[in-house]
Symmetry: C2
Subunit: 171 residues, 2 copies
DNA sequence: CAGCTGACTTGATGATGTAGAAGTCAGAAG
DNA sequence: CTTCTGACTTCTACATCATCAAGTCAGCTG
């Protein structure tokens, strides 16, 4: 009952991941306030003071998150100007940021289902045109939804299998 | 270019989320080491010392994560016994834990695409039977893949719209 | 040009996460 | 019964996160 490890990966004791994408993603996204800023960006928020108010955070935290996310290329900073006001910056999601949609709404879906009373959170993600509920899930090329037992992992690089069993080779 | 906010949600200045599922999920999952333990659980790891070795963490951290995840109902602790050894515990994903698959592999997918050199991480998620690549994404009831512009959020509870514009009502 | 406002930056404090090292404890091996 | 080992717990030290408060600074308003 788990994801299948294919080929040289099969013997889990023999290899080690030292550039795991999950760990790298968590270094970038692992703070609660970061995820809240991203949530707001997905909801369409773009301006500094709106991020502060809507994430219920302080300006200091929001400023540091926006700075970091901009440096990483997840948000892009663009100047804008309202009549009679001075030039400000707005923060828009880049393609890299938009690709976080499955992560952010995946967290929402799981939190609503398992952490909220009655398995129901305050908001539901639906299809815009029909109002039908939307799920975040693993999906094959031809559109079937896939469970854990139908998935496998393959290595993208050759693994040189260590003969010792205490440490394993890195891939 | 963002998720549409429907009905009473449309005016983002007028409401506030104070039981956000994303924030709740991040309080539970927001640590790097937690996600690594979950990664291993999805790869089929069940025993204490395997978690320690494979996540490359210390036993102290792994013990505290396993304890927390067990208390939360994400892992279940079960005794097992090998011949000539004493009784140990193994940690298996519950349904609640298995539902994290889109989150964990969503992070992997994003990290591989955007944080790894050449957009390619060490491991790829594929369909077990065919070897075809698998994606984590938002999907409608009838199987179409949905982008940000095809999604909307609806409120599950009535929102009483505050007349003041500084704070907004909670939902 | 003085004041005000929005968008930050800086600093202090406490909580949590990470890492290393050492201590505890049940129970099979000898 | 003593030793040893695996599975934890405890302790210390340091980095990062979160909250609060105060300071800076460009440039529009009056």
């Amino acid at each position: 009952m788990s994801v299948s490890l294919e080929g040289a990966l099969a013997d889990r004791g023999r290899w080690r991941i030292d550039n795991c994408s999950i760990a790298m993603a968590m270094e970038v996204l692992g703070a609660r306030s970061t995820m809240l800023v991203l949530r707001e960006a997905l909801y369409g928020t773009r301006r500094f003071d709106d991020f502060v108010r809507r994430t219920h955070s302080t300006d200091a935290i929001v400023a540091s998150r926006l700075k970091r996310l901009t440096e990483l290329g997840i948000l892009a900073k663009q100047p804008y100007r309202e009549a009679g006001k001075r030039t400000r910056s707005e923060y828009c999601l880049t393609a890299m940021g938009r690709d976080l949609l499955p992560v952010v709404f995946g967290l929402m879906q799981w939190g609503s289902r398992h952490l909220q009373p009655e398995g129901k959170g305050p908001l539901t993600l639906v299809e815009r045109t029909t109002g039908e509920p939307v799920v975040i899930e693993a999906r094959s090329g031809d559109g079937r939804s896939l469970g854990m037992d139908e998935l496998a992992l393959v290595a993208n690089f050759p693994i040189d299998v260590a003969s010792s069993d205490d440490d394993g080779s890195s891939i």
